[in-house]
Structures are given as C-alpha cells and as structure tokens.
C-alpha cells in the first residue's frame, strides 16, 4: 500500500447502497475534488467504492486509510462526511464516536479472509483494480503454461470441495468432465443461491466478480470447455450488473472470446438470469433450466459432469467454489489445503444471521468450531439470551443444539452433527425461537418449492408440513413425532433428487435434538418459546394495567374491553392471538403464556 496516500473505501454492496452508500461515496468524492484543496493533496487522495465486507448491519461502512493506517467508521450517513473529512482526513484525528466498536473488531479479526479478501478492498467495477492485485495472472498461467491434467491435479491436491451442497471434490468433478471425449463442454457458475438466509455467493459476485470469472476460465481450460454460463438469481440486481460489466471488460481486453491468451482455445461466458426457483440449485434441475425447460430434475443415468447441458459434459460449481480457484493456482495447493482440515481445504463463508450480536458474512477456516463462529465472530447471542440452536445449510439443512457447538465446520463433522454445509446459511436461534415453528417455516418453503415430480417429495413434504401445522396449532397427536421421523427418513431415502433427499432435514434434526419441545407441543398443548400462536393465551394483568386503552386500539379483533383508567379485559373467545396488545403495551400488563 502506498505510504503517502489517503484512500477512502466506501462499502458499495447491496446492503450499503440501501443504507445510503452511494450518497456517502458521492459526498467524499465531492470533497476530495473541491477546489479549496491543494492539487498535491488531490493527487494522493481518492475515494473508492469497494465490495461488501460482510457486516451489513453496520452499513454504511467506510475505511479511511491514511498512509497505510486504517480506521473504520460504521453507520455513516452522508451528512457525517464533512466532519470526518475535516477532522480526520485533513486534520488527522479520527472521529472517535463514529468509529467501529470492539464488536466490529472481533467480527473482522476472528475471520480468515481468502475468498472474501478482495471484498471491501478493491473496486469491483474496475478491471484494473483486479489486475493490480494480480488478477487474471492465474488464468493466464493456466492457459499458457499448464496442461489440463496439471490444473486438475493441483485442484485435487488443494482439497477444494464444492461449496454449494454435498461437498464433492472439485478436482474430481473436473476430471470426469475432462475425460469425456467431446468437443462441446460447458462450465457453469451456479449463482442461484435461493436459500433464505444465505448470501455468500451474492457478496462474492458483487464484490469480486472477476474472481468468479477467472475461476470459470481456469475450469474451462482444465476441462476444455468453450462455453460458460453464469446462472445467477435474477433478484441479485447489483451482482447481475457487476458481472455483466465484468464480462464486457473481459471481452474488451480479450480475456474472453476467441483464442484467449493465444492458447487457441475460445471461451464465451454468458450471463443467464435464473428465473426464480429454489430447485434450480440442484444440478439436473439447473441443466433443465438452462436448456429452457421447467426445472424438474431428471434421473441421473450418468453424472452431470459427463452428461449435462444438451447432453454434453458440464461442470457446475457455485460462485464461492470458483472464486477460490485463482487463489489456489496463485498460492499453491498445499497453502490452500493447509488452511483447512485433512479432508477439506480452504475456508468457508457463512451467512451468519439470526440472534447473534453481529450479523453478517463471515469467512472462517474449515475446521473452525461453531462456537468460534457464534461467539468470537458473531459476538455471542443478541441481548445475551440463551442459545438454543443453529440452523445450518438453509431450509434443506439441519438444526443443531448447544451440544454440537464444538463441532468443527467441515463436511464430515457437520454430517455427523446431523446437518449439512449447504450454501453456508447459519441462522442462530435463541430461547425465544420455537423449534417446531422454525421447522415448519422451512417446510413451508420447501413443500411449495418441490418441483412436483416425484411422489415422496411432492406429497410427502406437504404431509410433513401439515403434521407440523397441526402440532403448532394444538392438534398434535400421539405418534406424530414418530410419524414425522418415519416419513422424513422415507422422503430422504426415496426422493429423486438432492432437494428431496435433504428437504426433511430441518424436521429430522430438530426431532433428534429437541424432541421434548415437540412433545410439549403435543402433550401439553404449550409452546415453551411462546411463539405458536394457537397455543398461547393473552390476558391482562389487572394489577399492572393502567387502563390507557392502547391495547384496545390496536386489537384487530375487538377482543379487548374496558373503560379508560380501569383495568382492561381480553375476551378469549374473540382473541386471534396476534400479539398486537402484547407488543403495544408500555406497562408490561399483557401476559403471554
């Protein structure tokens, strides 16, 4: 880093922009360019937009780096900019009251940034910025100096595994495709990422689009593909915009197109906006979708890597996997393997959300413990409530309890704990979350997202959801938990595709670890976390009620009676258990039980 410079890095991810990032950047740039300043200062001072650094809850995040020394401001608004500029950039003394706190420090310090290294550091819309950090050197190297087999060997040795789902060895996947003697082959970046609560791929595609493209180029070189697709969720508008721009830049520079790097190989990469279906994360469904059909998975007579799009060999990797590839080529397989465990190399990005103090995107080495992630990076449970569990891997993942907190994050350990890595969603639940309700929430999504092709997933998931519904509404029956287990394992065993094989996980894992909570719902008709509405009663505590009438006003069912300044009363017959009264009462006079 330039020793005699001032760099202002304004976060420009989706989160930041929604918090006013563009205005903040604009304000800094205005000031830098303002005529009052000396030209020599203007020459060494600049304001950059950089990718998301993961801590979106504190956006807009701004780094001010003066002569290599970095100060981070959080929750910056454009009206705060003049003071920061005045006092810190010109005056040299940071505005202490706005700088990031310890929580932020520990959030960043406890991570190991490999794949996210550029996010928050370089301008994702500037190809030169990427080239300045040795971008496309690995691809050039792969095309000019490496044989496909060498690349594949290197990837294999790095122990890189698919970051999207089951964690299949990336090198082996490439090898299958490489070995098929076909002229036409495809490389696909799977950026469908439709797991609620996961946004790692979005941040990578937004914050470091060239890394994804470079990864695809290296893959194309390794397997001999002439065509690539970036299959990206259409809702990720910023990522779409930046990838489109990045592709254009690559075509202009000749990194993509005909005879790239004079290797004789052509490569065209096309952006394919995914039309919005959860199931498209499944490889065969994704292939159907790219072929323009309903994304119904097809039975796998052979592997997609051998027989994918239009029957041709197709490697499908998710964005995170691909973004790792250039780094492996640059820094070596053993470096990458050394970051992780014996079986999984590198790091893993998680979308840490839910009831932790610090929500955001976090990257930790493979093999870190869940406890590290939740307590060190995430700063512990919000409002210091009691930890209950972590839902890992999105709606088709599983929920693990406190006893698993010392599990390590790698594919095998998580499988032992009864969940999956999936796309890295990590939702932390505390004592106020009902486990049955949480499972029902996930099944509500998955039963609706089933493609409808195979019997167990189409009907079975719906039936599981209905059983959960009756449990949470107080109509649970003896034997329902066993029925859920039986049906769930049946669906897992007999479904056609990976979606159905994992969709019952939220139920199976919670039944395994939180069986009591299910039983209380069924036997006692109670929800210990006070979430399941039908199992709650709201009543007015006579002694505490001031008769202010607020509850009466907000009640949508006119179930609350009472005269002003006298204790009010809730008619249980009419109460719809919406909780509005509870939320609105300033005196804690509504009892929820």
């Amino acid at each position: 880093m330039d020793n005699n410079s001032v760099v202002i890095k304004v976060c420009s991810g989706t989160g930041s922009i929604s918090a006013g990032g563009a205005e903040v950047l604009h304000a800094f740039r205005e000031l830098v360019l303002s005529s009052d300043l000396e030209a020599s200062f203007q020459d060494r001072c600049r304001a950059d937009k950089v990718g998301c650094r993961g801590f979106c809850a504190r956006d807009v995040l701004v780094d001010v780096v003066i002569d290599g020394e970095k100060t981070t401001y959080e929750r910056v608004k454009s009206d705060m900019v003049p003071r920061i500029f005045e006092e810190h950039i010109l005056g040299g003394s940071p505005v202490q009251e706005w700088t990031a706190d310890e929580l932020h420090q520990s959030f960043q310090d406890n991570q190991k940034k490999v794949v996210l290294a550029h996010c928050g550091e370089i301008d994702p819309e500037d190809l030169d910025a990427y080239l300045n950090v040795k971008g496309y050197e690995a691809a050039r190297n792969a095309f000019n100096d490496m044989q496909p087999v060498e690349i594949i060997e290197k990837i294999k040795r790095s122990k890189l595994r698919g970051r999207g789902g089951a964690g299949f060895s990336t090198g082996h996947k490439w090898e299958f495709a490489y070995k098929v003697d076909e002229k036409e082959k495809y490389v696909v970046c799977n950026g469908n990422e439709s797991d609620p609560g996961a946004f790692a791929d979005r941040c990578i595609m937004e914050g470091d689009p060239h890394a994804v493209i470079e990864g695809m180029m290296i893959c194309a070189r390794a397997i001999g593909a002439g065509k690539g697709y970036i299959y990206i969720r259409d809702g990720y508008s910023l990522a779409v915009k930046r990838l489109r721009l990045a592709l254009k830049q690559c075509h202009e520079r000749g990194f993509l197109g005909k005879n790239i790097f004079e290797s004789g190989q052509d490569l065209d990469i096309r952006l394919y906006p995914a039309p919005g279906a959860f199931i498209c994360g499944e490889a065969t469904a994704l292939v159907q979708s790219i072929e323009g059909k309903r994304a119904m998975p097809t039975p796998r007579l052979t592997r997609t890597s051998e027989n994918g799009i239009r029957g041709k060999p197709t490697v499908i990797n998710n964005a995170e996997t691909l973004a790792n590839v250039p780094k492996i080529l640059r820094n070596g397989a053993s470096w990458f393997a050394g970051l992780g465990t014996d079986t999984s190399g590198g790091t893993k990005v998680f979308s840490l959300t839910g009831k932790v103090k610090s929500n955001g995107l976090v990257e930790v080495p493979m093999g870190a413990t869940l406890r590290d992630v939740v307590y060190k990076v995430g700063g512990g449970i919000d409002q210091d409530r009691a930890f209950k569990g972590i839902q890992l891997g999105g709606p088709t993942g599983g929920c693990v309890p406190e006893s698993c907190l010392d599990s390590r994050v790698d594919y095998e350990s998580l499988a032992v704990a009864g969940t999956i890595m999936g796309s890295g969603g990590m939702v932390v639940l505390d004592e106020t979350n009902c486990i049955v309700d949480t499972a029902k929430f996930f099944l509500d999504i998955t039963q609706a997202e089933s493609c409808g092709k195979c019997t167990p997933c189409r009907i079975g998931m719906r039936r599981m959801y209905e059983i959960l519904e009756r449990i949470t509404s107080g109509n649970g029956r003896d034997g329902d938990v066993e029925l859920l287990e039986d049906l769930g394992s049946h669906i897992r065993t007999t479904s056609l595709c990976g979606f159905g094989m994992t969709a019952p996980n939220p139920v199976l894992s919670t039944v395994r670890f939180f069986r009591d909570e299910y039983n209380i719902h069924i036997r006692d008709r109670k929800c210990p976390a006070l979430v399941c509405k039908s199992l709650l009663t709201f009543s007015c505590i006579e002694e505490t009620c001031t008769g202010c009438g607020m509850c009466k006003r907000v009640c949508p069912a006119d179930a609350i009676r009472g005269t002003r300044k006298k204790p009010h009363f809730i008619d249980q017959e009419l109460c719809v258990k919406c909780g509005s009264c509870f939320d609105s009462c300033k005196f804690g006079a509504i009892l929820k039980e």
Binding site: G197, A277, E291, G292
Partner: protein, 153 residues
C-alpha cells in the same frame, strides 16, 4: 406488440433457442407474460403453448397476470421472518386493498409479493420497493413510502 415479439424472437435465435428466455423477455417487455403473445410465439416458433404455460407457472419470476405499477417485494427469508416480515406483508396487503389470493391491487397501482430471500439478511426485515432494497423496515416507514408513491400519481 408485434414489434416487441419480433425482437424477442430475434433474441431467441441468438440465444440458442430457449423457451425460458423467451418468457423472460416477454416479462421484461410487458411486465408479465400475456396470453396472446404466448400463442403468437407458439405459432411462429413451433413450440406448443403448453410448454410455455408449464414454464411460466413454475418460475416465480414469471407472471401470467398484469402486475402493478409499483412492486413491493417482502422478503420472507429466515432472518426477516424472525424479525416480523409476515406482519409487514399482511399489513401491506390490507393497506393496499389487495384481494385475497391476488398479488396486485385492482387499480394495478401496487403489487405486493413475497420472495424467499433477497440475500440481504444482515438488514432484516428487508423489503424491495421498485427494485430498491430497503433494510430494517417497519410498518410505519412502509406506509409512509406507499403514500409517497401514491402521491406521485
């Protein structure tokens, strides 16, 4: 419409002939997938209309009914759910007079829809209003914005 369809078809031929991208183009041009356009394309490209219907009813991005001028997408992802997105959703539907089982108000001013996740979980609850992602929303804020949008008319 003919002009648009010509362009859509041109695009289709450049795009390796893909029925899904055709529909995406229709959605982009018309805001939904009009039935007449499906039949027209079906005729011109020799693709059965049933194929288009099957695709259009599968993907949430495609719509068979005209949509509102303003589109409000409420995120229903896990963190947003935990932070009360359901209430925001039902309140918005009520506020904008959206009939049950529909997504769009009768005057076609507003569409309120859900999405499984916007991928901006750090800022839950999240709502997207006309493609602008907004974090940490609450009902009050939402109603204010809706009124502003109404006033713009």
């Amino acid at each position: 419409m003919d002009h648009v369809l010509d362009k859509v078809i041109e695009n289709y031929h450049e795009n390796e002939g893909n029925a899904l991208t055709l529909l995406q183009d229709l959605e982009e041009n018309f805001g939904y997938v009009p039935q007449e356009s499906v039949y027209e394309l079906s005729d011109r490209l020799n693709i059965p209309p049933s194929r288009f219907f099957g695709i259009a009813t599968f993907f949430s991005q495609l719509h068979l009914k005209p949509r509102g001028k303003n589109i409000i997408t409420v995120c229903r992802g896990t963190p947003c759910h935990v932070k009360g997105s359901e209430k925001i959703l039902s309140r918005m539907r009520m506020e904008l007079d959206i009939p049950p089982e529909e997504e769009t108000s009768e005057d076609r001013m507003f569409t309120v829809e859900e999405v499984n996740c916007v991928g901006a979980c750090g800022m839950a609850p999240v709502v997207v209003i006309n493609q602008q992602v907004q974090g940490e929303v609450n009902i009050k804020k939402m109603i204010k914005q809706v009124n502003e949008l109404r006033a713009e008319e």
